[in-house]
């Protein structure tokens, strides 16, 4: 046994007492669901809050170097897009046709671009610039066979305990 004493120092950033902070658990990776966590994280950071994002399950691929986010109208009766002066949804049965999801995703991206909505790639870049702390769930990395080499620079690896420690310090904890 080593006689050297070891000091374990927590790496979690400690905010000043008056500073509010926020954490977000990111669990979904479709185009539409990717927006709320990145919008809230970048905005909170811009308002001076230290922010931590914990990427788990289908949220984890949002850290991949190359994103090609898709959405599906299947099972989403609220997804109605403005078209020819009306709002049109897609019956579930049509969403099963090959190519329909890709077409819907492309339409949504075009619509977002037209309306001045940032891309997820841009928001992610802004989050990194704003020093948002990003934790990649180690268990999900193992489960879906990803390595940090597949991911953008910046995320650290962690598990439930890493997140809980962070959440106990944060004033706002969101699960998205």
């Amino acid at each position: 046994m080593s006689s050297e004493a070891q000091t374990i120092v927590s790496e979690a950033p400690v905010a000043a007492p008056e500073t509010k902070s926020m954490s977000i658990i990111v669990t979904k990776g479709s185009l539409d669901w990717a927006y709320p966590p990145f919008i809230l994280a970048t905005t909170a950071a811009a308002m001076g809050l230290p922010v931590t994002m914990f990427f788990t399950f289908y949220g984890l691929p949002l850290l991949l170097k190359k994103l090609d986010l898709q959405l599906t109208a299947a099972g989403n009766p609220a997804m109605k897009m403005p078209m020819m002066g009306a709002h049109m949804g897609l019956p579930n049965i049509l969403t099963a046709i090959p190519g329909v999801d890709a077409a819907c995703s492309k339409m949504m991206k075009n619509l977002m671009d037209k309306k001045g909505v940032a891309s997820i790639e841009d928001l992610r870049e802004l989050a990194i610039e704003a020093e948002v702390r990003m934790i990649a769930c180690q268990m999900t990395m193992d489960l879906f066979e990803y390595s940090l080499d597949d991911m953008i620079e910046g995320p650290e690896l962690g598990g439930a305990a890493t997140y809980i420690e962070c959440a106990t310090q944060a004033d706002i904890n969101l699960f998205i």
């Binding site: 919008i39 970048t42 905005t43 811009a46 308002m47 309306k115 001045g116 909505v117 940032a118």
Partner: protein
């Protein structure tokens, strides 16, 4: 006359706020930043942003569809 002007016209939430935050960093303490935006949500958002960050929203006006905000860099 503002020290800096940020043209955020055509940008949607949260880009006007994110760009304003970046632009404010370039404004010396006591200086002012003028922001032009077309996002109607930016009215409530810049008020909240200033309350939260401690910067002063000096002026706010609207000319047709363009909203103008004048923020004084007063926060640390």
């Amino acid at each position: 006359m503002a020290d800096h002007t940020l043209d955020a016209k055509g940008l949607n939430c949260p880009l006007p706020i994110l760009k304003a935050r970046k632009a404010l960093k370039e404004v010396p303490a006591g200086g002012t930043l003028e922001i032009l935006a077309t996002d109607p949500g930016s009215v409530a958002d810049f008020e909240a942003f200033c309350r939260q960050t401690g910067n002063e929203l000096v002026e706010q006006s609207q000319d047709d569809k363009v909203y103008r905000f004048l923020i004084k860099h007063t926060a640390a």
